[in-house]
Subunit: 107 residues, 2 copies
């Protein structure tokens, strides 16, 4: 039906999946990589770098913000987007924890 049955999974599973899902788009990967190479992080620079419409980039930024990976600060008439390093490390740990506790094989 196009709707994910989140209710049959536990909170951790849904959270982890949501996190993976947000990272599951090349534009969002590219945005994060670009921000990490810049000193300024100005939104408009991102739009020009990535090559998608401004409205589209704005939506992708919103999704990255939704999992706490980006912070946006007003800087004059622009927005300065930065990676939240604490959250970044937290998510990396969550993810490694998933990989480390799940890798057991059976055959």
């Amino acid at each position: 039906m196009g709707i994910t049955k989140t209710q049959i999974f536990d909170k951790k599973q849904n959270e982890l999946a949501q996190f993976f899902k947000v990272l599951g788009h090349p534009a969002r990967i590219a945005i994060l990589q670009y921000i990490s190479t810049q000193n300024s992080c100005i939104c408009n620079d991102i739009v020009e770098e990535i090559g998608l419409a401004q409205a589209t980039i704005s939506q992708h930024l919103k999704e990255l913000k939704s999992i706490g990976l980006l912070n946006g600060e007003i800087e004059g008439k622009s927005m300065c987007y930065c990676i939240d390093v604490d959250r970044w490390n937290e998510l990396q740990n969550m993810l490694n924890s998933f990989f480390n506790t799940t890798k057991n094989n059976c055959c």
Copy 2:
């Protein structure tokens, strides 16, 4: 337009995003976790454990296979699905490499 503009991103970015995307569904997280706790990995057991229709589980298994995370072997009249540990580690490394090279902050 609902269609991702993969052509404006490089191969690595698309690959990484695709990998994240496949993990971005709670059913697929749950399937991987369940398999890792079992000695048998029989497909039908997965269907009963997760609580989605057999056709739906079959599709999720197909996606997990598409990124090499699962191997399926015929075992009598059943299928035995197992995590491919080498691929599993490879993906964990790719992912950590992304996290480690992108975490730089600017503000």
